[in-house]
Symmetry: C2
Subunit: 269 residues, 2 copies
Amino acid sequence: MAKDGKKADRRPGGRVKAQKSVKKRSAEVRAVPDGPGGYVADDRPDVVVVVDVSYFAVDRGALVVLLVERTRQPDAGRWAVPGAVLEPDEVLTDAAARAVVARAGILEPFTRVEQLAVFDAGDRDPRTRVVSTAVLAVTSTAAAPAGGALASGRWWPVGAIGTPAGPSLAFDHLDIVTTGIERLRARLELTDFATALVEEPFTLGELRRAYDVVWGVELEPANFRRKVLATPGFVVPTAGKRIVGTGRPADLYLRGGGAVLHPPIPRQR
Amino acid sequence: MAKDGKKADRRPGGRVKAQKSVKKRSAEVRAVPDGPGGYVADDRPDVVVVVDVSYFAVDRGALVVLLVERTRQPDAGRWAVPGAVLEPDEVLTDAAARAVVARAGILEPFTRVEQLAVFDAGDRDPRTRVVSTAVLAVTSTAAAPAGGALASGRWWPVGAIGTPAGPSLAFDHLDIVTTGIERLRARLELTDFATALVEEPFTLGELRRAYDVVWGVELEPANFRRKVLATPGFVVPTAGKRIVGTGRPADLYLRGGGAVLHPPIPRQR
DNA sequence: TGAATAGTGTCTTTCAGACAATATGGA
DNA sequence: TCCATATTGTCTGAAAGACACTATTCA
C-alpha cells in the first residue's frame, strides 16, 4: 500500500522556472500552490529549514549529549546541538550526519536515528524564520571529537544541564535536548532502541545498565533478562561469553532486527 | 523510525541538483551558518516548507479522512490531504488550520492537533524540493465542506483507500494518510485522544465505539468502562443521562484535562 | 414482554515485581 | 575462601479478558 504511493509520486516532471515579476503572492493563493508557476524561487516565503541533532550516548555510567560551543553571535559562548541548513538534494538524516561531522568533529556514524519533532516557534532564531526539524540519534561509542578547527563538540552529561557547572544552552536548544531525552526514554520502553546504545556484542547486564542510566532506575536483573529474551527480535544470542570484571561470565548477544515490545518494558507506575 | 531508514535510501536524482543556484556556497560553510551574513536571502537553499494535514473523524461508524481533489497538474484528478505553504509569520498548527479552511472548505476547528512526521524525500514533488511537516488532526464532527470555489474537500472512509471505488492519492500522500492512521491508533492506546473524536457530552458507549472504529475491533464494554473510569483525568462525569435508542440510559461525560494512560488501553496481543 | 444497551460482580489467566537459590568467574 | 555478577526458580499481587448477571429504556 505504501509502496504504491511512493511509486506514484516518482514522476519525471520538469520544473518550470520562474519569471514572476511580482515578488510575493497573497496568503490565499499561497495556500493553493498548484499552478505551473507554483513554488518558484521568487515566490517562496522566507523560511529556512535546519536540521538539529539531539545526539546521545552512554559514557561511564552517565547519559551524555553532544553539544557544540557557539563562537559567533547570537548566543556566542553558549552551547547548541549540532545543526545544519538542509540542502535541496539531501534528506534529514543525511543533513544530521553532516552536522555532527562538520560541527562537532564526530566521525562515527549514528547507531540509530529517527525523527524527533519540529520546532516552529516564530522567534526561535533572532536572525530570520528558522524551522528546525530535530532528529533523535544515538551511538554506542561516545568517541572524543576529532581535532580540527570545527571540532568544538563535547559530550555533556545530561545531569549537568541546568546546574552552574553545566552548559548554558543557546536559542531553544534546551527544549530540543529535553524533548530528545524524553523521547529516548519512551523509545526504550516500546522498542529495542537500547541496543543502539551498547557495542556489539553485548551482555544483558550491559543492556540493562543502559536502561538504568537512561531511566535513572535500577531494573531487576532476573526480570529484565526474562523480558528481553521473551521478546522476539530483541536480541540474538551468540555462542560467546565475556568476563567483565568479577562475577560469572555473561552470555553475549547481538542486536535483533528491530523489535516492537508488546507488551513494553514497564517504566514508573 | 523505519520510515526514516527507507527514505534515507532514496536519493534524489541529478534533476534537483542541477537547479542549484550558482550563488550558493559550499555545503561545509552552510553547515556553520553563524556569521552575520548567515541566512540571507541569496544564500538560502531552494527548500519549500509545506504543512500537510492528516485530518480524521468518525462518521456513521467509519473512520474518515479529509481529502481534496487536485484540479491542476501535477497529479490532477487525484486526491491530496489539505496543505499549505508555511508563511514566515505563522506556526505549523495555524498553517494547518488555514489549509483545511482554504482548501477543503471546512470551517470547524480541530478538536485536537499535533505533529505527525516530516516527509523529506527529495523527489516527493516533481516541481521543486518540498519538505512536508505533516500534522495529525481530528474533529468530533465530520461536517460537510462549505460551498465555494475552493470547497473541493470530501471525507473519505479510510477503508475505501486502495480499493477501485476509493480515491487515488497524489504524490506521497498515501504515505501521509497511512502514517496518520497508525499514529492515531497509537495515540488512542496511550492518551485520551479518543475523546477528541466524540462530541461533548458523550457516553462511554460512544467513546468505546470510537475505539472500535479506529482499531477495527470490538472492545468489551464492561472492561472498557472500568479502565476509562480508573484513569484519572480521562473523562469527567456529569449529572446527565442520555437515551440513544433502545436500552438503558447512559451516563454522560466530558473530556478530561488530557490524560496519559498508565498503563495503556491494550491493543492486540 | 422481548430486544437492546448500560452498568456491576466475579473468576481465570497473564505478567510484572520481589526475592531466594544456584552457577561461575576473580581476588 | 569470599565477593561479585549471571542465571534459574518460585511466589505474590495487579490487571486484562471473559462472561454471568442486573438495570432500564423502547417497541
